[in-house]
Symmetry: C2
């Protein structure tokens, strides 16, 4: 990665403002098949990118969005979930069992597995709309198809 | 973004396994100036990407890393913090005051501002090494320079 970064530095597009130019924060799954900048046509400096397992809304997601809006001026949120998600491949109890068997410790946090991706996008939209800390709750939800590279909006 | 995604779909590199090929999870700041895939030379399918305000280690980061390792086979962690971070531009109390003044509600979570980026990378390394839920604590920490595009390792 350090070597590859030398190549990036050679074609580095130059300094940009800390405040995202498009005033958007993207919340997406950590999945390795989603390079969000090219996938959404983002340029360096355009949008905050918040990612976790599932792209779900947790206290930490709300913390990041609150800082993004109050301190750095974003006003829209785009959610990107996807097909074939790891978070559809188990359930909260089975996964907690797995971690406990492997480490001897049961996680105190909910793993946040889900069954239907569109429902999980709607749940994320609901959690954003209910948060009292945000300045803007302008939010749209997408599902990325890892077999075709296409996103579609969840309505 | 939906229009730009059509262009991505035209040059989509095809289906990849849900398990990251390089068995790496990257934990980075949400900053809009870090397109992590080209910046680290990652190809589609190579690595999980977890991002939040500051790239700090929270319960949600540990949740994501635990799922990444136990369910999807990653075994190394790379941290990417950066220069000129929004999280250096205030402090926890001032930021909570700002949110309370704007929304009438004081956040119950710590905003996680910091003063010296290298120290925050070391603190993240410490929190990973102390987590009881991970299978591997192989971790290296980097700082990205937003003025040059170069990363350097924190030792």
């Amino acid at each position: 990665m350090l070597q590859a970064n030398e190549e990036w530095a050679q074609r580095f597009p130059g300094s940009k403002d800390v405040r995202p130019a498009r005033k958007v924060a993207v919340v997406a799954c950590m999945d390795s098949r989603m390079p969000l900048f090219p996938l959404l046509g983002l340029e360096v400096g355009d949008a905050h990118v918040i990612r976790n397992a599932g792209g779900v809304i947790t206290d930490d997601t709300i913390r990041s969005l609150t800082i993004s809006q109050h301190l750095l001026g974003t006003r829209e949120i785009v959610l990107v979930h996807h097909t074939d998600c790891g978070l559809e491949k188990s359930d909260d109890v089975s996964f907690a069992d797995l971690v406990e068997q492997a480490t001897g410790r049961r996680p105190p946090w909910a793993p946040r597995f889900f069954t239907v991706v569109d429902d999980d996008v709607r749940e994320s939209i609901r959690l954003i709309q209910e948060s009292p800390y945000l300045l803007s709750r302008e939010v749209r939800g997408m599902v990325y198809d890892v077999e075709t590279g296409r996103i579609r909006e969840v309505v």
